[in-house]
């Protein structure tokens, strides 16, 4: 695979696999299209007929109720038929390979595959093998990318802050394991955000993370100083078992977002979280429910963004 597999010969979005590799115009086009869909989600008849007759298959190899539900809602609002397949990891060991699973579904007239997989790169492999009229949307692959989440984060930032070119954005927490962080960082740098910071202990920051275009901070107070946007990442309990962290308590003390630490950011800073939140681990309840938090609007925007992505890819040939 030499050329960018997401774009067709005309530079249109055929699949959405990662934010990395999307030209700026395509990225902005998705955000603009999402804005049109926000209107739809706000009126009484929340449906448009654009994907009527098309089938969207949610292929979730990693369980997830939230993301799957938002994709399902988005597809139904586009009048598409939605089929959910929760393929637990164990059924893969029953022998059917990833590509065989996809080939079987393809035989059932699929138009869009929304794929979540534990292995980085799985959606790229699928995209290499689908038919010309089939489209792949990456709903999260391993640690690599979660492009629709990155897009809805970008949409949220644009909604509240308008101009990326003046912003300082801080991403806090387990960047090492976070596909959300990687997607957001690529999006921010593509849209010329001048200062993107990652804040976390060394054990949770990947090797050579600066090469993504970010400034590294291990001191959260220093990292939050003057930030316009604070994005908190989820900390999974497995990290304590993997010798990456001693305890949730110590993590919260140094890297949890409290009102006191948030006060170091700009007075009009917004606080984001991809969800689901671990209250008291990465974020204090007072902040999560406070005036700076835009965590709930993120969810609404997420539906419009996914509607935009689905209607853009399903329309390319």
């Amino acid at each position: 695979m030499q050329s960018n597999p997401q774009l067709n010969a005309n530079g249109e979005l055929r699949h959405l696999l990662s934010i990395e590799g999307l030209p700026r115009e395509v990225l902005l086009g998705i955000l603009d299209t999402a804005a049109s869909f926000v209107g739809v989600t706000e009126r009484e008849v929340k449906k448009v007929p654009i994907l009527r007759g098309k089938s969207v298959f949610n292929l979730f190899f990693e369980p997830s109720t939230r993301t799957r539900t938002t994709f399902e809602i988005a597809a139904k609002r586009l009048s598409a038929d939605v089929i959910n397949l929760n393929i637990a990891a164990s059924s893969q060991t029953k022998g059917e390979s990833l590509l065989d699973t996809v080939a079987n579904l393809s035989a059932m007239q699929a138009d869009v595959f929304v794929v979540r997989h534990a292995s980085s790169g799985a959606p790229f492999l699928i995209a290499q093998h689908v038919k010309a009229h089939e489209h792949v949307i990456n709903a999260g692959d391993g640690r690599h990318a979660h492009p629709t989440q990155g897009l809805l984060d970008l949409y949220t930032i644009r909604h509240y802050k308008r101009d990326f070119s003046r912003l300082t954005v801080a991403v806090v927490g387990d960047v090492l394991h976070s596909r959300v962080a990687r997607s957001l960082i690529h999006g921010l740098t593509t849209l010329s955000t001048p200062e993107v910071r990652v804040i976390g202990p060394k054990t949770l920051l990947p090797t050579g993370v600066e090469s993504l275009g970010v400034r590294v901070f291990h001191d959260m107070r220093e990292g939050l100083r003057g930030a316009d946007v604070v994005v908190m990442l989820r900390l999974q309990s497995e990290r304590m078992r993997g010798a990456l962290l001693p305890s949730a308590q110590e993590f919260f003390k140094h890297y949890g977002l409290t009102a006191e630490k948030l006060a170091l950011a700009r007075p009009d800073a917004i606080v984001m979280h991809p969800g689901p939140m671990n209250r008291g681990v990465e974020i204090d309840s007072s902040v999560a429910d406070g005036p700076h938090s835009v965590i709930l609007p993120q969810v609404t925007f997420g539906i419009a963004v996914r509607m935009a992505v689905m209607s853009m890819v399903a329309g390319t040939s």
Partner: protein, 421 residues
């Protein structure tokens, strides 16, 4: 049979010869000249005549993995690639930890009358890293050295004992340097590319930490150590110092590693899923330079046929390995050309140098030496593809590439075993 190979550019790294001339073969050996008329004349005008290639690592997949490849197909591949001698690692199924298995493998290979096969025996029983194998018995059955292949040996005490025991008999030990715990779970070089792609990484110091430990154990035990498949700049530095110190050590590099780096992973290309992983461009450069200055003794193919199903998987799930027997020559020539080396020096790295490590008489064109010869066209190019590969392993990052160096004749013990137009 009396054969005369005429008017070729004869390149014999061991003697330094590089000139147009003839090579005479009789009774399976190179000779000064032929008494009487040759039964066969090979016209080698415009071609290079060199010792047959010696590959220190080629997996033949037998016994146990016949669905991946068979002795027949892989031996065909070997001679098609100009390889006349190869050493095969012990990670068959069952592993080569019993004299009976080694014996059977040698007989099967000999019966096929293609390349010479030198089995490398398992260092520990079942390669499990706990109990020593009967090395003396295995050596008698034909093992030329002892190895763990890619299986870990994390109990350093067992490692020390194994080296001491091997040193007792003077058996060489061939080991890949990798700290099992640091490499655990990793599938790619721990660097910027793995960070971007979200792949768990294996840091370069997983190799250097293990190599440092190995070298200490060599000092303590006196064992002869050959380090397999160097992958990092740090390892090259350690080997340079170890050789300067006079330790009985040698090492090799896989042909892919002087050409590719982690940048070649591209969009998760599982053909680049290899063990050890492809590291950074800086590491690649150090490996290439190390091979040129002799710190790294030789290049091998590390031929590992993997069936396509095991490659058509997400990167971290795909089976590591690449086919290599038929690419060793062109990849070596390409490396030599990029570094502007004289042909004799390039060829040394795949003939006389591995011969020295293997301890065999082949790898040179001196009179009396076994007549293992390759005749190839250095200018003719080959397009790498599933169709032209005789190996059952069609898995290579070089699919679709045009590489120069086409084998025309391969002779083993004075008998032509491969010919092509």
């Amino acid at each position: 049979m009396k054969i005369l190979i005429r008017n070729g550019r004869v390149v014999d790294p061991a003697s330094g010869r590089d000139a147009v001339g003839d090579v005479a073969i009789a009774d399976g050996r190179i000779c000064e000249s032929l008494a009487g008329e040759p039964e066969r004349v090979i016209d080698a005008r415009g071609l290079v005549v060199a010792p047959g290639l010696i590959d220190l690592s080629a997996r033949l997949r037998e016994p146990g993995f016949e669905y991946k490849a068979t002795l027949e197909s892989e031996m065909d591949a070997a001679v098609a690639g100009g390889v006349t001698s190869l050493a095969c690692p012990p990670d068959t199924d069952p592993p080569l930890d019993e004299p009976g298995l080694v014996d059977m493998l040698r007989r099967r290979a000999k019966a096929l009358s293609r390349a010479r096969v030198y089995p490398v025996g398992a260092l520990t029983v079942q390669l499990a890293g706990e109990r020593l194998t009967e090395m003396a018995e295995l050596a008698e059955a034909g093992c030329v050295a002892f190895s763990q292949a890619n299986a870990p040996l994390s109990d350093t005490q067992v490692l020390w004992r194994a080296l001491q025991y091997a040193a007792t008999f003077g058996f060489p030990v061939w080991l890949r340097a990798e700290d099992y715990c640091l490499a655990r779970g990793g599938v790619a070089h721990d660097g910027e590319v793995a960070t971007r792609l979200g792949l768990p990484g294996i840091p370069a110091f997983a190799e250097t930490i293990a190599l440092g430990a190995l070298l200490e154990l060599v000092r303590a035990s006196g064992a002869r150590l050959h380090v397999c498949r160097l992958s990092s700049a740090g390892a090259v530095q350690l080997m340079r110092a170890a050789k300067a110190e006079g330790l009985p050590v040698s090492c090799d590099v896989g042909a892919h590693y002087v050409h590719l780096s982690d940048m070649d992973l591209g969009y998760f290309d599982s053909h680049c899923r290899l063990t050890p992983p492809l590291r950074s461009q800086r590491d690649r450069e150090a490996l290439s330079a190390g091979l040129a200055d002799g710190t790294i003794d030789c290049m091998c193919s590390d031929h590992t046929p993997v069936d396509e199903d095991q490659k058509q998987l997400p990167f971290s799930e795909a089976e590591p390995g690449a086919t290599g027997l038929e690419l060793l020559l062109p990849l070596a020539l390409k490396w030599g050309a990029l570094r502007n080396l004289p042909l004799a020096k390039t060829m040394a790295r795949i003939t006389s140098d591995p011969a020295r490590i293997l301890g065999v008489q082949s790898g040179r064109l001196a009179p009396g030496a076994p007549a293992d010869v390759v005749v190839f066209d250095p200018q003719a190019s080959v397009r790498i593809g599933a169709g032209m590969l005789r190996s059952q392993g069609k898995n290579t990052p070089f699919l679709g590439y045009e590489l120069e160096g086409r084998v025309r004749y391969t002779l083993v013990a004075g008998k032509p075993v491969y010919e092509s137009a």
